[in-house]
Symmetry: C2
Subunit: 194 residues, 2 copies
């Protein structure tokens, strides 16, 4: 373990590829990932956008005051519009994203997840991307890019399921280094262009 701790949020309607690829790749890189469930209707698992059912490691509601937010080096918001909307409207998720951003930790958003950056008041002027369908909700505040992944200081954003592998490897590169990324790409047999 690198010892670096990362939160990945999970809600009903989260895009399960974006979620799973990120968690899997980060754990392959020996990062210490905690999957945090947000307002799950079924209590113990999230029903994702294509009905894959995933059990979080902890529930946000159960963490309460014991949650040591300053322990974390990064937080990740996957897409899937219903899941991202739940996270966007959750004050505690907003607070965690905002706090980590202020402490210059990494905050990473993919697909409709980038809407959470805006809700958490990540300052305007940042260069971001997102799923094309939510672009119009972001251009009033951010510089919009159509790159597959955008790294702007400590804000990482990406576009959709097909860019999730590149997104996850970019988070690994920012938290660790390029050598780990190269090793993972070999081990996972990724395509030459992502």
């Amino acid at each position: 373990m690198s010892g670096k701790k990362v939160i990945v949020f999970l809600a009903d309607g989260t895009e399960e590829m974006e979620f799973t690829i990120t968690v899997d790749v980060l754990r392959r890189a020996q990062l210490d990932v905690t999957v945090v469930g947000v307002q799950l209707a079924h209590g113990t698992y999230a029903e994702c956008s294509r009905k894959v059912k995933i059990v979080p490691d902890v529930l946000l509601e159960h963490e309460g005051q014991s949650w040591n937010r300053s322990d974390y080096e990064a937080a990740v918001i996957p897409g899937g519009a219903p899941g991202a909307n739940t996270m966007k409207d959750n004050v505690e998720v907003q607070d965690i994203i905002s706090l980590l951003y202020e402490k210059q930790k990494i905050v990473a958003f993919i697909c409709a997840g980038t809407l959470v950056a805006k809700a958490a008041k990540i300052p305007e002027g940042h260069k971001v991307t997102s799923y094309p369908g939510v672009k119009d909700q972001l251009t009033d505040v951010y510089k919009y890019s159509e790159d597959r992944v955008v790294v702007d200081q400590n804000v990482i954003t990406s576009r959709g399921p097909g860019t999730a592998m590149l997104f996850a490897l970019t988070i690994v590169e920012q938290l660790l280094d390029k050598q780990v990324v190269e090793k993972l790409k070999q081990e996972m047999l990724t395509a030459s262009t992502l």
Copy 2:
């Protein structure tokens, strides 16, 4: 819904990216996917290779005689060595794969999953691929390829997490058509080369 029914097996130690990408992409294509859990230690969920916890739709053990095997147009075996080994040693999984193969339905294997083809006595001489680490267990029976995805009659095989998107889209193409695949690639923003 196209009405075509597909089984995707899930066990403890299954590679969660390979599993989730396949289920998600097939469901985006309106295929009717059933996730079938095999011998899950925790009963209600599989603990996958990187500790993502996934709840199956049904448990193999509970299906018993009510399981109408001939309803299915395809069955998929994801990788992750411990999960693939559980499936390989499970007589009912072997029977389902063998029956669907005999009925000229699609049987699809990725990563260490290709070992299940051999255990299910998919006839020798087929051209297959797999995760490089299990190649030596397959070359005595099959023609081995290092292509990212191999389609040989009704047997589809692939290599690892980085080829899972191409694997899933190839299953869609074989069950439906190329137009659906092109639509999904656009919607998911996949890379130009997979």
